[in-house]
Symmetry: D2
Subunit: 425 residues, 4 copies
């Protein structure tokens, strides 16, 4: 699963080492502005404490690489195997997920020491591993770094949720400079029907669920040139969208009722004014920005209200792969999506993940890897929908044309937005 512009050639150990430490340091940097108290809390079962993310990503390298491949490696603390396992049944019992926020010990400081311990051992291993060991471990290091990047995004998602339920509405970061401009009008970009090849072809890293590359037949379709904006979505709300079951899936309507949804997550009304809570705290709602933090149910209801639909993931990928603007691996990550600026098919990456109408399932020919690593993706293939693209909070080098993100249809704390599709080409 390796080798790309971003991935050093396996033989360049020094480059691997540099890249390893750079990615690892980026995680620690994300937590730097948070107090120990901020890092321990867990605002809901779906989310995890920052400290847990910091520890679990170290646990990943310790468990899947150092324990088996670093001669003489001594685990930092034998209890951590239990405390920081996320969901790998094959590597033993684990601390219950809903209780992650109750672990005041180990402290943030100890967790940073744990990370240093693992990083030092990894740096040595990368440089000194025998060629045979290296052949075995470099795909695992690549996986571990991509895993680390997923948790970088999760750290931001989770702390945003935690701060949003604090009545003080604290900010994770200082206010971002914004240059509000109207979004371009909605236009349709058409794609012909036919036999397409979809999925990862094995060049460079991809998660196992992105392959095998395979053929699909698509009918002609069109995608919206830009993401659905807050203005678009507000029209749905103003037209009674949240009160009209005819637009909603049955389960979606039940979720809307039981959870009292009236607007996307993080929309606030204060002093009669629409605001939005961001990682820089609350501010007035910008109508040009993409709507974000909607569930699949809301995305689907919105699409029904427009008379259009969401894209199938294969349509999305077919379009993206014909698009002149691939993800920019050198782009820095930002903390909130921005309004579209470009003409043409824009905002495919780097603003909001885009709900597709595709339930998350196995591609033809997919087989999960043997052992614990096989639990990474395959065992989640029920009750989830695929999101495509990447969000403002996604590490830029982590975005990929074939990337399959997935969440349950009621989830709203991911940076999830809407891109409309249409059969009317």
């Amino acid at each position: 699963m390796i080798s790309s512009a971003l991935t050093p050639h396996p033989s360049e150990r020094a480059a691997w080492r540099r890249r390893f430490l750079a990615v690892r340091d980026q995680t620690t940097a994300l937590a730097a502005s948070l107090s120990p108290e901020d890092q321990v809390i867990q605002s809901m079962t779906d989310a995890s404490p920052t400290k847990w993310h910091l520890a679990h990503t170290a646990w990943f390298f310790e468990t899947f690489i150092l324990k088996d491949h670093a001669e003489g490696y001594s685990p930092f603390d034998p209890d951590y195997a239990y405390l920081f396992n996320s969901y790998y049944e094959a590597v033993g019992e684990r601390h219950p997920r809903p209780q992650r926020g109750l672990l005041s010990r180990p402290s943030s400081e100890e967790v940073l020491t744990y990370r240093s311990h693992v990083d030092a051992a990894m740096a040595t291993l990368i440089e000194e591993a025998s060629p045979k060991t290296w052949d075995m471990i470099h795909p695992l290091i690549e996986l571990g770094l991509n895993h680390e990047q997923q948790h970088q995004e999760l750290i931001l998602m989770d702390i945003k949720h935690a701060f949003s339920i604090n009545p003080l509405l604290p900010a994770y970061a200082p206010a971002m400079k914004r240059d509000p401009a109207p979004a371009p009008p909605l236009e349709w970009v058409a794609f012909p029907g036919g036999l397409y090849e979809i999925g990862h072809d094995g060049e460079g890293f991809a998660f196992d669920n992105e392959g095998p590359r395979h053929r699909v037949w698509l009918e002609p379709f069109a995608l919206a040139n830009r993401l659905t904006t807050n203005a678009d979505y507000l029209a749905f709300i103003d037209d009674g969208g949240y009160q009209r079951p005819e637009f909603w899936l049955s389960d979606g309507w039940a979720a809307r009722q039981s959870q009292g949804w009236e607007a996307p997550l993080y929309w606030l009304t204060r002093d009669g004014r629409r605001e939005i809570f961001t990682l820089a705290g609350p501010r007035p709602l910008d109508l040009s920005e993409p709507v974000c933090h909607v569930s699949y149910y809301e995305a689907d209801a919105f699409a029904n209200w427009t008379g259009r639909r969401l894209a199938r993931e294969e349509e999305w990928e077919a379009a993206a792969s014909r698009n002149p603007t691939p993800p920019d691996p050198d782009g820095g990550s930002r903390l909130h999506p921005s309004a579209a600026a470009d003409a043409g098919l824009s905002q495919m990456f780097g603003e909001c993940w885009q709900w597709t109408s595709s339930a998350y399932s196995a591609y033809p020919g997919f087989r999960a890897a043997k052992g614990a690593i096989g639990e990474y993706n395959g065992k989640f293939m029920s009750n989830q929908f695929v999101l495509r693209g990447a969000a403002a909070v996604t590490p830029a080098s982590h975005a990929r044309m074939t990337y399959r993100n997935f969440f349950p249809p009621a989830a709203r704390w991911a940076f999830s937005g809407i891109r409309l599709a249409s059969d009317d080409v």
Copy 2:
């Protein structure tokens, strides 16, 4: 949605009338052996009382046909609009589903009178409707009769569940004569890859979710010649299948844990002996019969244990449509699946519904109908998996090559079984 061997030509009103009454009477006949007490209970939220099924299917004709199209029709009881609406948001409020089993009134007798009232009005309408009215209503009658047949199967599913949790383990019907014979060995029937046409072509009735007919690309695949038997499944159990998370989806393992699954629904152990609860009461487990009443999670775990997989629904349909044995519309329905007898691809219809790996979703180009009828299928397209074929309890004339049944992956009270598929052709 019209006209087939089974469906009389629209101009033959008398034949329509006969068919209407025949299907309606079949429902009442299914309830004839049940006491009023049997008919009122609701053993779980997913199930409904027999009496409710009897009333709701009358409500369907009253609400969608008689009210709008039968001049001077007087609703039997205005309260029934509320009591017997199942889930149609567009026709107003409704009695909460979990409370259906608390309605001792109206009595079973009143419900039968309600059915007669509706039947009489329908019979008259069928014979006397103006041609213009007839054009509007005959597709609705067809839909109503198919709806009625779905509830015939539900009546049997639901009373089976209700009786199964009664410590007296009562029988719905007398013991069935059986002629136990070993199942044929498992063999693989191969199908080539290529572009297939899938879905209903508009000839004869189909539900809206079965269309539009469309092209899909399939890689070569093979299907098991017969359904998975109790013997096959017992080997999975004996190999620790219910204790080994590596075979299970994450949500499936959680369901297995929280619900304490150790075997399919309705398997019993009494005096140390494996038994099975059937509509004819408990009896020893027959190892040759198809395993039935498994959830999607169990079906998927079993398939993983074998190293094979479940079929995609398109594969199933492609195979079924090339198979010389279509569903037999004149076959009587039975109360329990039987062992396979035939060589070749057998048991596609009439034994157990077969879980596919396809999440239930819209075919390309699908748009739900406007209004209440549009709620029939489309709004359930999340968190469910498609089952193909038909079961022993399915009315024989209701089975269809393109039929898409669907249930949530944890459901076990449908007559749901397993057919393996394979990529190794």
Copy 3:
């Protein structure tokens, strides 16, 4: 625990036999107007189906008398020991309470046959038991008959609840003739402080929890001459009683919030008019009648709003035992409380049970009986409050000065009302 005007002398076997059958027949008579469907449903966990009451009261005689003392007695059906045990841990496993409403089998008819079987065996035993056996069983028969009478009241409470949640609001009985008259004005009846004797003295039957008789010191107190009326209670509602936490216990306020209480159970608003649901169906609210079907929390909040309080159970009994109007054992039972007519301390019995401020606990010197019968009362001595008096639905011969009824403070389906007490004498 025996011998009173009502209880025949142990030596008069024929009189015992007549009384036994009379009480038993009274239970069956209460169910006579109910259909088999009415008798099977269970509208909430706290309530039981009529059929279950009919069977359980037979089970009581079978289990505690016939099995041990009737030579050659053959249990009607061995499964009933499991099905119809209510809560006696000492006599084995039992069918889960929340599933009582799912037992369509045995049928109502079979349960009546069960009752006849038990009655015949009991009638024979009463007449033919040896003197030594008789000494052992006649207290158990007395207990069984009192148990039977408790279930007579429960049958009415439970079917009232079941009918109240049926949107058809059916009536258990025809409308009662009523002669509305204004309630007498609220007055205070004073009682001096001092040492009182409280509890049953052993003459005639009483439940174990009514004794031993013992001394208590009471400060001077006064009781309201009549029960709180609907008019009184409406003033509380109109003054915002359900919106003002300052009157409520903390747990009471939480119950009021979570359950959305805005008025007593069974108060309805239809077409803008206050109505009340009774065993004879809905009718306009009669302001002179005692308020009924309030929880302890509501009774306590109401009392706080008036600036008064509820009585301690010892105060209630001290007052009742000095009152010239004891319960009338020949009074017929009615289906709804009536307005007070008398001057003086009225409505102590026969209208509504009266919440006291006394938590249900053991009297000094109380020891529960050994064995299963000891589970009758003692094991419920936590989280319940005592109600005193008797209600319109209580069998008249079942009322008693020392009777201690008890329910959890949030319960509202008993015929529970309010009598105010005061320290200002």
Copy 4:
């Protein structure tokens, strides 16, 4: 509520000021060894974070004294009124209790600043208040200091629970020196029946629920000379106490079943050895120490197993007030109860709170104070049982003969133990 040996005379402002700051500093000192992370977590809804206790106790003085009586006082932060209100409905909305552990902000440091802000204002107010203001506020200061002491105990209870569910089992404090000695044999101390005066007489501070002083009639009774030991309790466990419903209240048995109780809270079995988790971490179970952290249900079941009973709270107080050993106000508080050493009626104070069989209710003549302060005690008078005495973690100057502690019968995280009583004198 005033003046005792401990309470300075109202005219001695400097002494009040010293005492105020001493009590306040004691709270802060309890938190000193805890990290900011330790202070933010909430291990269950019943418990609160240390930081919350620190802030809430400052909020109490700010809300009930400074806001109304300190001229020109400026609240530290207007949001704190909402964040740190515990349950006072009369002073407005409040942050939901179950979410207290999600407040990473304000930080521990800010909360300490808040405390200093309040302390400075209070110190000034104590010294400079006009005599008229002083008359109004000194009872509130007294109440606030007693409230503060209650939270000192809660801080220890809550952090013990939080640490107990951390798999690392951290210690709050270093191991305590212990001098294990066998407990004296169980003996009975008899008290005559008669009329007793119970409750606080108004000399010195007491909570409102401790009065008014009133007469009660008690029959002769006896109390155990010492608390039930771990050895005593282990005999109950070894005799199947947790498997035999005959000893248990019905609600207690249900709690035992649903929560899986097999021993007191904080008993562990590690490597086959009985251990106990204490504030100094885990250590072997000392059989001579009083059993602690049992629910009322366990205490009651244990008492039933012995054939004895728990004391009524009036019996406990009658005995305590005749006992030569009053609580020692100068005793330091400890972190765990110790074995009895003395002959005679020992361990009444300073080891474990002692469950009584008395439901928590109002004394005759009790009226809650008007306004928010009236919510302090009265509104909890349902579904709770009274505990008497004081525990090792109770501030020594906070123990009192008439003190009425109360918890729901299933609560186990208080330092609650057992003292047997008997009718056999």
